[in-house]
């Protein structure tokens, strides 16, 4: 699955998803339950705003010294006998991983959840050389066997599917004949996946946080699948975005605790695993060979720009879980594996404005995202930055909007023109008004009046009333 989801232009995606009652119900339910759960765990922790400031400080410090920490990380991985590869592009990362798979003559590869491997579109590269690639995160597994249905949520990729749909997929693809009871479905997936773990030649993981001081990687799951992926196959490859790094265990502890609370409203997830290099003498399990692939793929060109705060992201999806736009249109409408507010900021940066020019506008700027972000990314402000670039640099703003803004500038920068313009407004709107309301508006008002009435401008502006009153005209 590449970053871009091929499912048509923005409005077609939105219209389709607005019709999808099941998806919308599932998303709303997830958001409403998650809202309460998250508030519960942050209240229990206490001093949430101070924790956010600390987490922000950690992320900012790390990004400002990223070269230093990447060097330290790679030295420490190498010291423990691991291999580090810096991939500037998706192709370089995929080539490196393909070379390892060829070298190991790998037939089967098991993977734990990783957004960055989706971003670089790794699986087809490995499948092309004959590898059987198995996603082991339950959500990702369901999507993979359902002919690579794209993920609709960063943390809960199969959120848009209900248990009956999942049963049907299992029936079609795995010969499953039991009920749609989630426990039974999960048991079936577990049994199938267990055989895959035992026979896999390579395990591939993502990385929640790499720890520079020790060369370790941290994986956070509720399913324990990452532990099997990293302990059974002989070769482990961990793929990380180049910004997913913390200086020491101390900072890792803070960020993991922010991550699990923000992502799923849990104090801790069931499994938080820290792995350091390949198996050493006396270790009971673990891979014989360990590779860390550090992926740039456009990230370094975000560094040093006004969009740098987006690299603070720890992929918790708290912003997705409170977004009222995501609530109604769901993840697939974004056309990117990164959906919701973080997707609307990140996708145009990694994938360009041509494919994602609508996303910065798919927000009412309500700032719910900015409010919940555990590392204080000013998401709604970054959306405005995107709009500014689309208007000023890309020149992609609609003509009507440009004209309206020109009028705005003229009217608001000069008090006399403002007075003149607002004085004219009632007569300009008069042909459309009825009983002080406009039910069918001209120009951009049309989109408004399709679903709402618009108030007609008053013949007497507030300023007229006030002036008359000062003169002792009308008392009220």
């Amino acid at each position: 699955m590449p970053m871009k989801i091929e499912n048509g232009p923005f409005w077609k995606r939105v219209e389709e998803n607005l019709q999808n009652d099941f998806m919308r119900g599932a998303v709303a339910g997830m958001q409403d339950r998650g809202y309460v759960r998250r508030l519960g765990v942050i209240e229990e922790l206490g001093h949430w705003e101070e924790w956010r400031s600390l987490a922000e400080q950690i992320r900012k410090h790390t990004l400002e010294n990223l070269d230093y920490y990447l060097m330290q990380l790679s030295e420490n991985v190498a010291k423990r006998g691991g291999h580090v590869f810096f991939a500037q592009t998706a192709e370089e990362a995929n080539d490196y991983i393909r070379r390892i798979a060829l070298e190991k003559q790998a037939k089967k590869i098991v993977k734990s959840k990783s957004m960055v491997t989706e971003e670089i579109n790794l699986n087809p590269v490995l499948e092309a050389i004959g590898c059987d690639v198995v996603e082991t995160d339950l959500g990702e597994y369901i999507l993979q066997i359902d002919d690579h249905d794209p993920p609709s949520h960063i943390v809960g990729p199969a959120l848009h599917k209900n248990k009956e749909q999942i049963r049907d997929v299992f029936h079609r693809k795995l010969g499953y004949n039991k009920s749609s009871d989630p426990v039974e479905l999960a048991r079936h997936a577990r049994e199938t996946l267990r055989r895959d773990y035992l026979t896999a030649d390579i395990g591939i993981t993502g990385c929640n946080f790499a720890i520079a001081e020790s060369g370790s990687i941290t994986l956070v799951t509720n399913e324990g699948n990452a532990d099997l992926v990293t302990s059974l196959p002989k070769t482990q490859i961990t793929v990380m975005g180049m910004e997913r790094i913390v200086p020491t265990f101390k900072e890792m502890e803070v960020l993991v605790s922010m991550l699990t609370r923000s992502a799923v409203g849990q104090k801790l997830t069931s499994y938080i695993t820290v792995l350091t290099g390949p198996r050493e003498q006396g270790d009971a399990d673990g891979p014989e060979e360990f590779h860390l692939v550090i992926v740039d793929n456009g990230r370094s060109s975000i560094l040093g720009t006004e969009f740098q705060p987006v690299l603070q992201c720890i992929r918790c999806a708290a912003c997705v879980n409170v977004c009222p736009v995501y609530r109604h249109i769901g993840g697939h409408s974004y056309g990117s594996i990164y959906s919701g507010p973080i997707g609307a900021v990140l996708s145009p940066l990694l994938g360009g404005y041509d494919d994602y020019k609508e996303l910065p506008y798919a927000s009412s700027l309500c700032a719910a995202c900015t409010e919940v972000c555990p590392v204080k990314i000013p998401l709604h402000e970054l959306l405005i930055k995107h709009r500014q670039i689309i208007v000023e640099r890309e020149g992609k703003a609609p003509v009507a909007e440009k004209l309206a803004m020109k009028a705005f500038r003229l009217g608001t920068a000069s008090p006399s023109l403002y007075r003149f313009g607002t004085k004219l407004a009632p007569s300009a709107f008069a042909p459309f008004a009825e009983d002080g309301r406009i039910t069918k508006g001209p120009g951009p008002l049309k989109a408004w009046t399709e679903s709402r009435v618009f108030p007609a401008p008053n013949n007497e502006r507030f300023r007229d009333w006030f002036r008359n009153r000062q003169k002792g005209g009308n008392p009220s």
Binding site: C366, A367, A368, R409, A413, R419, L445, W448, P455
Partner: protein
């Protein structure tokens, strides 16, 4: 106490009654109202659409208009929040940075001003009926004001205030969003109205005319027996 009123473009043009109520209310509480005629718009429509240069011209005009004011009071959480952003927007601009800081420091949203500066919670208003309050996003999240409107509404005689379910959720206005992303905005406002109906409110009260224009506009189109009122109108209401 002299109060300079920033009435906002929406109220100047469309919601004159809200402006009148604001003036009457503040006067009743002993304020002397000054209305600088040179005021225009806080700049938000252009700023939020990415037309930063155009927005800045409006903002400069606002700084000029209110240069001599002691207190700038506005019946809009969203516009107040925009004014409070000026120092960030003009950071490093030798000509305007200090003026931006001065304006931001003396700007108050109406209910903030009543509760935190005038130190009054009971303004002597009365309005019989059942009401729910829409906490606007910019008022609560950007301005950070969550308490003042509720303190004031709790003291309105005869008014039964019921909490709005999912109050934290945006009503779908978002300025140009409501037009650019009309079909999505419509779903958002419909959900808001469902929640208002759920608590059987006679009145929907808010502190931002943008949200009220959106919610009221949809209520007007689908025909629901809910009256939409700005908090200034409620606080100025006496039987």
């Amino acid at each position: 106490m002299k109060v300079s009123l920033f009435v906002t473009c929406l109220i100047d043009l469309f919601y004159t009654n809200v402006g009148k109520a604001t003036v009457e209310l503040l006067e009743r509480l002993g304020c002397e109202i000054d209305f600088p005629e040179a005021q225009t718009c806080c700049g938000q429509p252009a700023y939020n659409s990415g037309y930063i240069k155009d927005a800045k011209e409006a903002m400069k005009q606002m700084m000029r208009a209110f240069a001599d004011a002691d207190y700038v009071v506005t019946p809009s959480g969203s516009c107040a929040a925009m004014l409070k952003e000026y120092p960030r927007i003009f950071r490093g601009d030798p000509e305007w940075e200090e003026e931006a800081k001065r304006l931001a420091a003396k700007t108050y949203e109406l209910t903030q001003f009543l509760v935190n500066v005038l130190r009054v919670e009971d303004v002597g208003a009365s309005l019989p009926g059942r009401a729910t309050y829409h906490t606007s996003c910019h008022m609560t999240r950007l301005l950070g004001e969550k308490e003042a409107p509720l303190r004031l509404l709790e003291h309105v005689k005869g008014l039964e205030l019921v909490p709005l379910p999912n109050a934290h959720q945006c009503c779908g206005f978002g300025g140009t969003f409501s037009v650019k992303m009309g079909p999505i905005s419509e779903q958002m406002v419909d959900e808001k109205i469902e929640h208002i109906e759920e608590v059987k409110a006679d009145y929907l009260i808010g502190a931002d005319c943008g949200c009220l224009m959106n919610i009221g506009g949809r209520i007007g189109r689908v025909g629901k027996p809910i009256r939409v009122m700005h908090i200034a109108e409620v606080l100025n209401h006496r039987n």
